[in-house]
């Protein structure tokens, strides 16, 4: 699965994107976040306050409960500030 990080989420994880093999018991965005949080201090810091995290699956805004699969593209970022 491809994961992308933007803005200060990327800064904290220090990584723009990565390919992961989805663990078998991870079937929602929320479970993915829990799994990522355990990957290191950067991840823990990026996902410390989930109220500040927005998620897109296959480039569509979704909620934390959204289901995910191996071929999805998942992106994590703060609330957008364009315009």
């Amino acid at each position: 699965m491809k994961i992308l990080y933007f803005s200060w989420v990327r800064d904290r994880i220090d990584l723009g994107n990565e390919e992961i093999v989805l663990p078998e018991n991870v079937t929602t965005v929320e479970q993915l976040v829990n799994w990522l949080q355990s990957k290191g201090d950067g991840y823990a810091s990026a996902f410390a306050d989930l109220s500040m995290i927005r998620v897109a699956v296959n480039q569509e805004h979704v909620k934390l409960g959204h289901p995910i699969g191996e071929n999805d593209e998942v992106a994590f970022f703060p609330p957008v500030t364009g315009g």
Binding site: L4, A56, Q59, F77, P78, T81, G82, G83
Partner: protein, 154 residues
């Protein structure tokens, strides 16, 4: 039409294209957003705009389609830049042509309100050696919510 680009755009040519050769157009409403050099009491040297290539275009196309669904419009345009921008630079242009001015105004405002809360752009403000990601504003979310609740529809 959607354009996501690093380079500057020609405001007048872009807005003129919305009515050119179309004598059904009664009104054109356009909004452009610019980089300010002072935010609160903090001076800004320059700004870097990051975005999510692919999702940005998809998201803006959805917003544009929703505007055409809600109002009778002739043409719509959204241009958004990314990369490094200086104070005074143009960041964004949304413009709408329609037979009637009410639709042009409403749709133009709808486009920028939704873009501000949905399109995956992030501003990094740079001052001296410091860089700071801009925080999303509650007022932008509220402006967007009013459209969803139907309060702003005329």
């Amino acid at each position: 039409m959607i354009k996501v680009q690093q380079k500057d755009f020609n405001y007048s040519l872009e807005v003129a294209a919305l009515s050119e050769g179309n004598h059904d157009v009664g009104g054109v409403c356009a909004f452009s957003g610019l980089v300010r050099d002072l935010v609160g009491d903090k001076h800004i040297d320059y700004m870097t705009l990051e975005h999510y290539p692919g999702m940005t275009e998809k998201c803006l196309a959805e917003i544009e389609a929703e505007a055409h669904h809600r109002w009778p419009l002739e043409k719509t345009l959204i241009i958004h830049r990314y990369g490094r921008l200086e104070p005074g630079d143009q960041i964004v242009l949304v413009a709408v042509s329609s037979v009637h001015r009410e639709a042009a105004f409403d749709a133009c405002r709808f486009l920028i309100d939704f873009l501000k809360t949905n399109a995956p752009f992030w501003k990094l403000e740079c001052t001296g050696g410091d860089s700071k990601w801009v925080t999303a504003k509650d007022t932008d979310t509220q402006a967007c919510d009013r459209w969803l609740n139907g309060d702003k529809k005329e």
